[in-house]
Symmetry: D2
Subunit: 382 residues, 4 copies
């Protein structure tokens, strides 16, 4: 008997319609990540640190492309550990296989799958991911320097993973070692994870700004995604936002080396002002930017937030003749009200006004939110 | 370097608390399946048809125990295909391994993991699961009769999977073959899947009643569970309810052979009246069973549904002197109102009344809902 | 003591930020109704049948504007009963007051509030709404003919409410009476509710097509909205979609008389093909309209549904050389997959193909779904 | 024509079943508040501060009973302002009417409706609620002292509302005035709102402990409830938990005077240890209190939380030979895992162990969480 001739029960993932006697439907569908493009670039949603059964992960590699498609991602890198395969008694070491298995599923769904590996060493230098490699097997070397040189020679983009991970930094504080200087000077360290899974590393954030490294935000997922992230309920894995000239692996690689990224973890954006300012600005539409206030009257400015983030704003200044809220919360996908009142009963005329706020969950530096103004035109009359 | 000495990044599944700089929390938690126990028996929630990477599934076996614990199950059987391993280029055939890997996770979480296999043949006899086997390797025989004899000799409970599966019955209609008679007569066929994944097979339902076979309801899951079932949103995999004397694998086995099961698929219960009647009755509490009606007045009987099912009731008779709703929907975990009105302005006295209904989603036969009465005491006065 | 000088505790609806010691936040926010505009017209979301405490409703009138703003509506009509005020012991009859109270809240939120009344008579002619009236008091006449003449003289748009309501048609079947012919001939009947609350009246649907009447879909809400509609969970009140040249009461009135409406109730659209076809077409984007199929291979066409409706498609024909699904469900706000397979191993060349489907929940006639094609370009190769 | 003879369209709230052509169902149902009873007492869920259209609220009074029933409450007090009726142009002052209208709806649903009034004065003494009054009209006096004396003479339970409300305390800090001493000494002040709407007042919490006043937690709701509380999504109004000997207004009154209450606001419980300790303890079941640890091995203690609160625990001590988590979050209605590890490879024997924790969201004093132990029996073996 030849099993391949049998009619196998297909994985339920392939079923779209309802069978005879079907109990209940379920969608195989993609939910978009609503983060806008910015002038000149597409905002691609990427997760560049992912495990499968081929190292210490728990799913067959093709599932990673399926999960990414459903969650609205554009690209993933499969980055199994080179040095660690707890399943190897059953699943012999084969460093390139997880990529090779995941890629066709990604192709069929139009999710880019990028070949990568996690070079997994004691600190220093700790764990580093090399993505856009051409052969993972050649990274299996006794010396970590050799592995990184090989990756670099393959044209890889290399970044330091979870620098404050308590497994290697018991106090959770990221530390920079001479080995990292060595790699940086050799051009073999291009970025750092500012966010890994649920963790944000302010030290890494600072280093990226100071040393001109690329910021990354990755899941490092081992489990099936839904065991760790309540994606159905607005939760999402951490995502590296890549500002690319087109939707292609090559464009992602170019953008990574050019440091055109931002970090999207939890309800937080982290990145250089160049990138996060247009993300914020393009997320919002003021529905009625022209308002009229009569004396000490009140108007509501309606602000629609197109994005998936809830922006949290703190008032950052005053405006003569107006009072406006100390805090504003802009819920995702909805229109909020900003109550503005006149404070001068005799005011008259038309003024362009920028209401000054700090966006506390969009960080341009550690503990420094983005400074913005909400721009309206007010016609005052007594 | 010895990888086992490294401090590995643990799978996020192990993290309970919030790390330094943590972005957001996530629960590793179990959600109970609210289906009551019945007199004399515990109602154990079981899924006896599950795949892993060791055949054509997509997750490492331990994940199956984790998923089951989180979804509130008491027991699962790992039943990889004997004859079909599409991953075997990478993962060599090892029929017992998926059970051996899943079991320790189940033990740590107190979910029973049962050794099983899917004997996967052309129709007839189609696909059959043998659970409570002692060795899966010995089922790998050229002849299906040998495989089933071996399973039977190991004391296995054997059931026919998805008898109306369109992969083997293109019209979705289950058909009984002489080979099934042969197995039944040999005592090598003990049950049938009345529900498999999203499908219900009325023919199988009928056969179980007529031929005294055990009814099963299993997921046949291949993907990570959450890709196929929106468990977060009230969806659930199909579950075999096993009425057992205690919470142990032995008690489950005894109950299966004794045909003490019911089928829970979607929002439907299927089973012999002996079992589904107490399930229904113990699901409900009438909060105010004693009501007073004055003339043609109206009262509300409050019915609380403790279970996860939404019971759908259709009026199945009349009661002199009372009007009551044609349909009643009892939402899960909530208290609904049943509006009862007097129809006789001069009624007087106290009466015990059973309001007759058919529960359309609790099937005691194909297309035959359970007949029930909602029992109240009415004090009438003019 | 003058109460107006006190600092009153404001209704919580006005609170945007968090007070000192605040326990938890809550949004006052508007959720958009995602139904696209169509060529030449804005698609305004309107509910033209609403009650308040001034007749038999349960909320102060301003709440109706607040609810409408939050649910994403553009306009509402307040239509309290002329002939029925069960609260009048406490709240003396004042037919214009509910409009006058609701309007300022609508103005502050940019929701149009339209003056209306429900002329509430026995069948025939039953209950009729007059909207865009100028004075409700004058409709309080002994004879219904006088009330309708007065409304008409005020320029009102007049429509028949819930024609199959079991309160006036015990079998739920709408019936057309000579009195309706009389009104139609006098130009005093312009539309009918095809949907009222949870009910759809196929007879009314047919009459609107045959007699050239405007189709309406209104809530007839009496309770606070959230007691009857789970708006938080994707439920919505019935909405009259008005295709207007601008977002203004005048444009709504013009469109109503011009019969440029469609009905949005539950997960169903009802309307003339002229209007519902572009609604459907503009709801969808085929992400990859150009696909390549090799022999009997398979591709996935990705269809994004921008709207809030789940479109349910049934295959309505065949295409030589291709197989495609019998049913397709397009979930709201998500991207679904349409699996297309080649059936001719030797096919070659490029073809423009329209996959024929019926949209079963977009009704152009009673029981007649909209016929559509999903247009793709397929490059075949052996 | 007599309107009362017409067949009126009933408020949708009365519809249970599906009408002909129905679009979609909706439940009129009660969701229980899962907070356990404590030894000797029922835990009744009460909201004793509620407004209607008869003062500055927005709903007809019967809606308040309906909302309370649906949200799982046992009792409410209608407490319209005596001194403030912004609707009185339309709705003439009638202080007892809101209670009289709400009560029959409460009776039909078995929700107790208690007669009350808000005596609404400048600070001091600010706003005070008198509940269990017999006549609200008599509280309409020029002098607040007279109003409170009258209420007291009627046997009322009197409490101070929102003592830190920014409308009367611009900095949000509650202040105690000589007038409050006067009332306390006269026996005319029995309790204070420790929580009002989304606000918690630590000063009021302290005063209740020191001055032996009853703690209350009320909504002060003006809007329809669902506009301010996302009750569908796990949000709830603030609730005064009353520990009563039976489910009756009299028993509630007795318990209020006896200070047997606790405060349930947001995800927080506030109260004297006497009451909140059994609430916490009865909320939890340790599923496997007897565990076995081998050497430095690990076990999972499974803790089920029956309540609607998410309990947040902080480790508050050490236990020789064991490590256990620094923080534990116990999600509502689910079973969490507590990972316990041995730290002594040679440990042996059986020990009863209490793992010490502070429950940070159960406050026995301002900023002082409840001290608890999680009690397990550990069998150690090398």
């Amino acid at each position: 008997m030849n099993p391949t001739k049998l009619s196998w029960k297909p994985g339920a993932v392939l079923a779209l319609g309802l069978a005879v006697g079907a109990v209940q439907a379920h969608d195989r569908a993609r939910t978009p990540v609503n983060i806008p493009d910015i002038p000149g670039y597409l905002t691609l949603k990427c997760d560049l640190h992912i495990h499968t059964v081929f190292s210490d992960g728990s799913v067959w590699p093709d599932i990673r492309a399926e999960e990414a498609w459903r969650e609205g991602l554009d690209a993933i890198a499969i980055t199994d550990h080179i040095e660690y395969q707890p399943h190897k008694r059953d699943l012999p070491t084969a460093h390139n296989r997880s990529y090779e298995i995941a890629k066709p599923r990604g192709d069929s769904l139009e999710v880019a799958v990028i070949r990568g590996s996690e070079i997994t060493r004691q600190m220093p230098p700790g764990h580093l991911n090399a993505v856009f490699i051409t052969d993972a097997v050649s990274l299996d070397t006794p010396e970590w320097r050799d592995a990184l040189k090989t990756a670099s020679d393959q044209g890889a983009f290399i970044f330091w993973n979870h620098p404050g991970w308590t497994g290697q930094q018991p106090d959770g504080v990221a530390r920079w070692y001479p080995e990292h200087d060595e790699l940086l000077n050799q051009g073999r360290l291009h970025g750092i994870e500012v966010v890994n899974s649920r963790e944000y590393y302010p030290e890494a954030h600072r280093w990226c700004l100071d040393k001109k490294l690329t910021m990354l935000s990755n899941s490092d997922i081992h489990n099936p995604l839904n065991l760790d992230y309540d994606v159905h309920a607005g939760d999402h894995r951490p995502i590296t936002l890549v500002f690319a000239t087109e939707r292609s692996p090559g464009a992602i690689k170019e953008a990574l080396f050019a440091r055109r990224t931002a970090v999207y973890g939890g309800n937080r954006l982290v990145g250089e002002e160049t990138w996060v300012r247009p993300l914020f600005e393009r997320s919002l539409t003021i529905r009625n930017p022209q308002v009229a206030i009569r004396g000490k009257g009140r108007v509501y400015v309606q602000i629609h937030n197109h994005s998936d983030l809830r922006y949290e704003l703190q008032r950052a200044g005053t405006v003569a003749g107006l009072s406006f809220p100390a805090t504003v919360s802009l819920p995702p996908g909805r229109t909020a009200l900003l109550e503005v009142r006149g404070t001068d009963a005799d005011a008259n005329g038309v003024r362009q006004i920028g209401l000054p706020y700090t966006v506390s969950n969009v960080l341009v530096e550690p503990e420094q939110g983005l400074q913005v103004t909400l721009d309206i035109q007010v016609t005052f009359s007594p």
